[in-house]
Amino acid sequence: MRTLRRFLVRVQALFLRHRMDADCAAEINSHVAMIEDELRRQGMSPTEARREARLKMGGIEQARELHHEARTFAWFESLVQDVRFALRMLRKNPGFTMVAVLTLALGIGANTAIFSMVNGVLLRPLPYPEPERLVRIWETKPGSPRNVINPVNFLDWHDQTHSFEAMATVDGADANIRANGEPMAVSALRVSTDFFSVLRTPPYLGRTFVAADGMPGQNHVTILSYRLWREQFDGDPSIIGRRSDVDGAPYVVIGVMPESFSFPGLKPQLFTPDALVRDQSSEGGRYLTAIARLKPGVTFDEAQRDIANVARTTERLRPKFNQGWSATVIPMLEDATEDVRRPLWVLFAAVGFVLLVACANLANLLLMRGTARLRELAVRSALGATRSRIIRQLLVESLFLSLAGMGAGLLLGLVGLHGLLGLIPASLALPRTESIVIDSRVLIFTCATTLATAVVAGLVPALRLSGSDPQKALALGSQRSSVGAGQLRILRLFVVAEMTLALLLTIGAGLMLRSFVRLISVNPGFNTTNLISMHIWTAPSRYNDNQKRSQYFGQLLERIRNTPGVESAGSIHFLPLTDRTSGSCFDSVEQPPPDVNSPGARFLVVSSDYFKTVGTTVLEGREFTDQDSIGRPSVAIVNHAFVQKFSPKQDAVDREYNVCWTVKNPVRIVGVVADARQTALDDDAPEPTMFISNAQAPMYFASIVVRTFGDPRQVTRDVEAAIHRVDPDQAISDVQNMTDVFSESVAAPRFQTVLLLIFAGLALLLAVVGIYGVMSNSVSQRTREIGIRVALGASASEVARMVLLEAISLGTVAVAMGILAALGLTRLLESLLFETSPTDVTTLVIGSIGVLVVATFSAVLPARRAMQVDPMVALRHE
């Protein structure tokens, strides 16, 4: 109680300083006066009495100190003093302050932006209850570690495993929904009825699926996304129970999901139930994905083992289809971020480097600034400031600079983040862009970084400056603005470190650039000029058998071909460069019917004239024609790689194969085409591919490709109109120019390359500032020496060369260290590079030369100053 009272009174004393100071002074003065009086009474002379009185007091200042310490929090007051002083110093030197704050803002801002991305994508848990128990299930076989799954296998896992609370399949598709009149194609998910039990997100309106929704006759129910509900149904609160046409059939809306609901990697607007049945037709084909929730207490490894076990059982049950296949579970967050993890951490390391360079710059700035104040610090020391007090003062200045840098950096980071998010292509180079914001974790990270910067950058100068001998410092003339030899060594050390880091970043950026240039120079195997594509998904209710679909596609293509401006048109089921492909098995007719052990190839379903439309050369034989229709003998086309691999010695054309595809076997090869890239430009090697005729084995969906004579834009509208003349309810989506598709397929590497180039540029910029500062200082310090040299006959150019040489020698050391470090570190980039070695010599050489040039360039102005040194002035200079 007493201590509390004391504490409060002390706090109060902080605010009543002046009054208390006056009171204290009065009291002590009266005390001393009384001692004096007594001493005079004892016979001392007034002067003696005064002196003796002070001695008895123990010193007036000391008494006041003790009084002060007891009555308030002295450390706090001195801290406030430090803060005030720091602010005053910073205000008095606006140039220095601005450079320092800007340097820091760049470093901290870049880190904040990138960490926001890392946080939003990699660190934040998925937005579902208990997300760490969610997993994705894949089938695996050697060579395909994450393969889509088969529904009957899924049912076996569902029935026979015991580690999972719930399991569901997910099938991404486009759905044609008619709302307010116009049909529109939306991204939709067909999910088994347990889907929402796995994710456990409650609906915003209505309900989610239950088992009964999977029953035939009751499965025309649908759940909408929040966005679809607001945009297409006007946010009508009585939406539940309303009917809407989905894919041409009436569906009842039973629920709306909350605004924040999403599924990793997709933005589904609509959910429909998928009933999984064990029947003949489901036993073949892998095309679904699956998610599951682990039971509480079940570990991940247990679940892995469990499902692998059951997979062995299914292998025995249906060996023709499952031999060699197993199943695996992967945590859902890990699965969703697989492709971007390495690139993001690389970017994070890169900005870390930039920040280190900024720290080194700040340390140098503080050191150079501090030595101008050596005299002041010496005086403080002489007046009784302890070393730790001086260090604390200097750290407070450093902290203030860092705080200012943090403020500016946060703003920069915010702006930068917006810019970055705009650069991120819509094709989802990042799987979870909706959660990239500057949240509390990012702010904490920024504060921690700022604090660390203040300490790291401020400590060495503070230690250095406070440790200088006050006597020596006082002896120096007050005009001296340069550093002593010891300090110069530290400056040089930091500068070399800066250049090394800058070199590393430059090399990294250079490698990425080379890789990217090689990537976009890849010949895709087709011609993208004036080529447009659009995606259609046929309504299953309207075109529910092969005959109808085949006819429909035929009509569509005929109308499109007749549209003015269209040179040719065709279709393919998976558009190239959209990261999708299908594969299947086949065997020659002489062999038994193919199964899982037979040779495999890539399978694509194309229409007549497809190759002519996209510009892939037909090497032998012919394309599909309208004669290759349903009912006629099955035909197929293969690519060059296929011939190389499977029939190198003989003619491919006219050979017959049995294929594991829903087409009437056997198929006869009628043509060979040149190789083309399918999933992405960096496909490893052209894959053997077999093309099936869409007329004979029509898929539910297709990407129509159209080559136009001129500017595609007007023709696009006419083509869409032509399609609608065949079926007015056909929804069309993803209308794109193939050049855009091409460009988007390399959006991720482009993004990384651009960012690394920016960071390398930043680091080099900061290094320029740093080197300039140190060289200036070096010249100042050596002014006398230069004066002597000039007086002894050195020419201006010799003097300049001396300065430049110093810069170059620092650069050389940095280059040597940088190359060593690069040889070790760049292998981390290997998975990001395309046809470029991490130790690519050209890049290393160019990077090194670049850094040397930068070093030299930064030293030009100081060199000029050196050249202008007047020996008369210099020799008098202290």
């Binding site: 201590t3 004391r6 009171d23 009065a26 009384m34 007091m57 007891a70 009555r71």
Partner: protein
């Protein structure tokens, strides 16, 4: 400067208590009077830096054990007189300096007691 041995290291708590006891004995007084009294009653000449008493008295005042007010002394000087406040002093359990303590007549063991 007085010789070092005669200047005992007086511990914080002790000085507070001694000051309080002194005030108890001599009634409201100013710092100089307290210091003079301490010098008088110490066994060995207590060369106390009189300024150190301020630490103790400020603490006591903050805790409420004493209350200060300005008044005139006999010789018409303005001085701050300290009187016993509302809070009473409990015997502090802090120990005295290892060499026996303050050397005040009557002081023994831990805590300061005795007639003053």
């Amino acid at each position: 400067m007085a010789s070092e041995e005669s200047r005992f290291k007086v511990w914080q708590g002790t000085l507070d208590l001694i000051s309080l006891r002194t005030l108890q004995a001599i009634g409201p007084q100013h710092v100089y009077a307290i210091a003079t009294r301490l010098e008088q009653i110490s066994e060995q000449p207590l060369k106390l830096n009189q300024g150190t008493l301020y630490s103790a008295l400020v603490r006591l005042e903050q805790e409420g054990c004493v209350k200060g007010s300005w008044a005139k002394t006999d010789s018409h000087r303005e001085a701050k007189f300290y009187a016993r406040g509302r809070e009473s002093a409990r015997t502090r359990s802090g120990s005295l300096a290892p060499n026996g303590g303050v050397g005040v007549k009557g002081a023994r063991g831990t805590g300061v007691t005795g007639d003053w």
